[in-house]
Symmetry: C2
Subunit: 210 residues, 2 copies
DNA sequence: TAGATTGTTAATCGATTAACAATC
DNA sequence: TAGATTGTTAATCGATTAACAATC
């Protein structure tokens, strides 16, 4: 029963964190929790917890609190984690294999169905449970399969070309590990960027300005 | 000539992005730029550019703009990118090797001087230009070398133990790829977290709520 | 019913944008 | 000098926190 309209990005980016904490509480067989208690654990304010949750509906019960299990399920639905979106990984290098091997995509709303690389030496090798295909097969593959998103694990210099091909084939959702500004080029795309070097520079700043 | 006092995190997290764009402009031999032009390129407002930069000093010249080279250098200093902070990588798995092989630490303010793993099969192998040491050698190594930061590329379950050891040995700065809440346990640490799964869930939300 | 805790409105705080005087 | 563009103050906007009436 979403109230939505338009939820602010600040709220949205906190949802995965709520989900993590609720999953943990659920695993510990905690079955109810108040906004005050949850706020304490997460190190935020109770007001924020209630405001955030109420963007999507009244999941609590006055005088009682929230059902952990129910709230976890609600957020799971809000995030859309059971969509099983079909994704492909572009680039079977270190980052490609890092995410393929360590992330539990199923639980994050995705299923990775293929991986592509242009390096002949990588083609045919195994990336987690899937086999690396030659990048030249991209068009054939995407014509035959409905793919929802692409995870770009290639350097900025390689993005331009491959992005053009992916976009032409209808891919509009990207998880981007490069510094290429996808959204500037293609306005109707949804892009989440992972800027590791920006993150590391921020650490450097904070160390430098302790 | 820092004005500082206390710069907000919003501003700080934008600095690496300014630095990237300025480096690029500099590489293209652009030697002056106005806040309006820079804002255009970066897709933000000119007001924000001027406000942000003026947190640290008056780097521009009225009627002219900013010297690209000078501004890039200023931000480099603000970020502290020439500190050459000594860091160690904990975990020689996919993420450890991904960052070791793909990030140019020197240009990001760091130098990775060692890598540790508890897996006997990984010990002795090469990670980029450094050799993987056994985690049991941690204490000996850290007693002999002044290390400024640790990059944790291990799963949450392994963090507790190793973090206790690192903290005891005086390491207070962390780049953290796990979901372990370092700062909750050790208040006087500086921590930058990389929560890839949170990021991916956000992509899922945005696809689900297009 | 009394106690607890939500949902929601109002107050505060901080961040972004606009405006313009200072000045190169 | 006239034109351009900064540095900075003021206005606006949005996000967070506080307060409390509704209600389980």
């Amino acid at each position: 029963m979403p109230k939505s309209d338009s939820i602010s990005m600040s709220v949205i980016r906190r949802l995965p964190r709520y989900y993590r904490f609720l999953s943990e509480l659920n695993d510990q067989n905690v079955d109810k929790i108040s906004s005050t208690k949850l706020a304490q654990i997460m190190n935020i304010t109770a007001s924020q917890v209630r405001q955030d949750l109420n963007c999507f509906g009244g999941f609590g019960q006055q005088g009682y609190g929230y059902s952990v299990r129910q709230l976890q399920k609600e957020i799971e639905n809000i995030l859309g984690l059971n969509n099983n979106y079909k994704a492909i990984i572009i680039g079977a290098g270190n980052f490609g294999s890092a995410i393929a091997n360590h992330l539990d995509f199923k639980r994050l709303g995705f299923e990775v169905t293929a991986c592509f690389d242009k390096d002949e030496n990588k083609v045919g090798t195994q990336l987690g449970s899937i086999k690396v295909k030659n990048e030249s097969e991209l068009e054939i593959f995407l014509t035959g399969h409905k793919i929802d998103a692409a995870f770009l694990c290639i350097p900025k210099t390689s993005v331009e070309d491959i992005l053009g091909r992916l976009y032409k084939l209808g891919i509009k959702n990207y998880w981007n590990f490069s510094h290429y500004d996808i959204n500037a080029k293609y306005k109707d795309t949804i892009v989440e960027n992972v800027h590791l070097s920006d993150n590391l520079m921020t650490l450097c700043y904070r160390m430098n300005n302790r």
